[in-house]
């Protein structure tokens, strides 16, 4: 892909990134950070691509480590964010029974 196309994507994505989170209450700072954290776990795609390309054992070894780390980042990130956001589920009703379920 040519450089101008990449710069275009980059600049537009910067503005979108600024725009979508510009007014967020402090209550949501932590879950938002955690969710964004999970999204960059998509580096997993990159790790799989380099594992596919790998020719030497060193390359394969490093890519396998990268896949493990990226998977932890992505999957763990989304799960932990979901747990943080449990507070916002069912605000209108059904809170009592959820509570008893959570307590184990």
């Amino acid at each position: 892909m040519d450089l101008i196309a990449i710069i275009t994507i980059f600049v537009l994505a910067v503005f979108v990134g600024f725009e979508v989170v510009s007014k967020v209450s402090s209550t949501l700072h932590t879950p938002l950070m955690s969710g964004a954290n999970a999204i960059h776990g998509v580096i997993l795609v990159g790790a799989i691509i380099v594992a596919d390309h790998s020719e030497t054992n060193l390359e394969l070894g490093l890519s396998v480590v990268a896949i493990v780390l990226a998977t932890i980042n992505m999957v763990g990130g989304f799960v932990v964010t979901d747990r943080m956001l449990e507070m916002f589920k069912g605000k209108s009703g059904g809170r009592a029974n959820q509570n008893s379920g959570d307590k184990k």
């Binding site: 990449i6 007014k23 999970a38 960059h40 998509v42 932890i72 992505m74 999957v75």
Partner: protein
């Protein structure tokens, strides 16, 4: 699958990430947003398995290794995220962010090893950026993890000549980066990686106390940019979009968090270099404090008209959110006006207390933000501070040069009585003595927050 379809799937994943961030910015849609992000990431990951890049065939090479590595990552990541205590979430996020940065750096290194001399200058520069920032994010996040987990001191670590060592490391890092671009070789790249790791450690060490969450957010933005650069190296548009989104939104978020704490971002990152060393509090620690019994506290609360509960990290540690709600309910029944004063950074992260109290089903209307609750303290009879310290420490207003100076605090000193439930006289996370503890109108009740609250509830019922 041909390239067009593959790219369109990548684009749709990118759109899902945008909607995910958008959703996460509003309480009502936050959960849906997160799930949408997870779907986007899953779709993008699955698609790679069905796309053969030029000159390659399906299935992917090393498929067994790839699938086993993913399975292993899931087996590590999911239980960690499921089982972690609410109190330990911030450090887990830091850790997840760090491994993401590490993964991006590794991806760039592997691609560089493979490309060798055939890499274009643009790709080499992007590789250098990915390795540098990815390594900084990795080692920096590990240090924030160790700090929050209290495996190392939570205070700023400043050593003689520290700023020169940091400056020298940074210079060395940049020099080796230039070296890689000019010379193209594995050795310079590994030196760059080592120096970047060292710089990450040195960069985070001087940051202490309440500023750590801001640094986590900043490192999160760094990792985003790393992923974007990695996307350029691999010619993967989705990585560029996702990484840039996280980098940009993470930067804004970092600024918002810094603002919520009344800090400039610059001051947070470099504050430790300029802050004067603390005056030793050894003499003051022997001053008398007034400690009370659960009965004393119960009586104060019982005859109050208005009580503001200020929760902090101690509440989270003791898992006392249900007990505090019981106490608040009891007081409300007795006709006492109860509110919770939530400092934006009470606990270890913004929103930490809201999450915790919501878990105990505390009515949302009772949670007041700092700006709402501060003007009401003069009409408040009792401020009940549970395991918080720095967020009510008047030193933030009165002692220029202390690490939290300038941070907005909850003005509990304006209330008629102040009750501290504390484990010990140990200073808070920022490591600063709290003058309010020695104030004549302050009563201290030592012990685990949950145990203390249970006793107070018992005493209140007996009244």
């Amino acid at each position: 699958m041909n390239r067009t379809i593959y790219d369109l799937i990548g684009l749709s994943a990118g759109v899902m990430f945008i909607l995910a961030l958008k959703g996460l910015s509003h309480p009502r849609t936050a959960r849906r947003g997160n799930i949408l992000g997870a779907i986007g990431a899953t779709v993008a990951t699955v698609a790679v398995f069905f796309y053969a890049s030029e000159g390659n065939e399906l299935p992917l090479n090393n498929l067994g290794w790839i699938l086993s590595a993913i399975a292993f990552g899931v087996l590590v990541g999911v239980p960690a995220a499921r089982k972690v205590q609410m109190t330990a979430m911030p450090q887990l996020v830091a850790l997840f962010n760090g491994v993401g940065g590490g993964a991006a750096a590794l991806v760039a290194i592997v691609e560089y090893l493979k490309l060798g001399d055939s890499a274009s200058t643009g790709v080499v520069i992007a590789t250098v950026f990915t390795v540098l920032v990815g390594c900084v994010s990795f080692s920096g996040s590990i240090i924030t993890f160790l700090k929050l987990q209290e495996l190392m001191t939570t205070r700023p670590v400043v050593f003689p000549g520290g700023r020169f060592i940091i400056a020298a490391t940074l210079l060395g890092t940049v020099a080796s980066a230039v070296w890689v671009v000019i010379e193209l070789g594995t050795t310079p790249l590994l030196i760059l990686a080592a120096l970047s790791l060292l710089f990450g450690v040195l960069f985070v060490l001087p940051v202490g106390g309440a500023d750590v969450p801001i640094v986590i957010s900043l490192l999160n933005a760094f990792t985003g940019l790393t992923v974007a650069a990695g996307g350029y190296v691999l010619d993967a548009t989705l990585l560029i979009i996702a990484g840039t989104l996280v980098g940009a939104s993470g930067t804004i978020l970092t600024r918002l968090m810094a603002e919520a704490m009344g800090r400039s971002l610059f001051g947070t990152l470099f504050g430790a270099f300029t802050a004067k060393p603390q005056e030793a509090g050894a003499a003051s620690e022997t001053r008398p404090v007034k400690s009370g019994t659960p009965d004393d506290v119960a009586i104060l609360l019982n005859y109050a008209r208005r009580v503001v509960i200020v929760p902090g990290f101690g509440l989270a540690v003791a898992q006392a959110q249900h007990t505090v709600r019981e106490l608040a309910d009891l007081l409300t029944e007795k006709g006492v006006d109860v509110a919770y004063g939530i400092h934006p950074v009470a606990g270890r992260m913004p929103g930490h207390m809201n999450v915790l109290l919501a878990e105990a089903n505390v009515p949302y209307e009772q949670l007041s933000e700092m700006d709402e609750v501060n003007p009401t303290f003069p009409q408040t009879d009792v401020a009940l501070i549970i395991g918080a310290n720095d967020v009510v420490n008047p030193a933030a207003k009165t002692t220029p040069g202390c690490p939290i100076y300038g941070m907005p605090i909850l003005d509990v000193a304006q209330a008629g009585n102040v009750i501290f439930l504390k484990r010990s006289m140990r200073p808070g996370f920022a490591g600063i003595e709290n003058e309010l503890l020695f104030d004549p109108k302050t009563t201290l009740l030592f012990g685990d927050a949950k145990a203390s609250l249970t006793k107070v509830v018992g005493a209140l019922k007996a009244l």
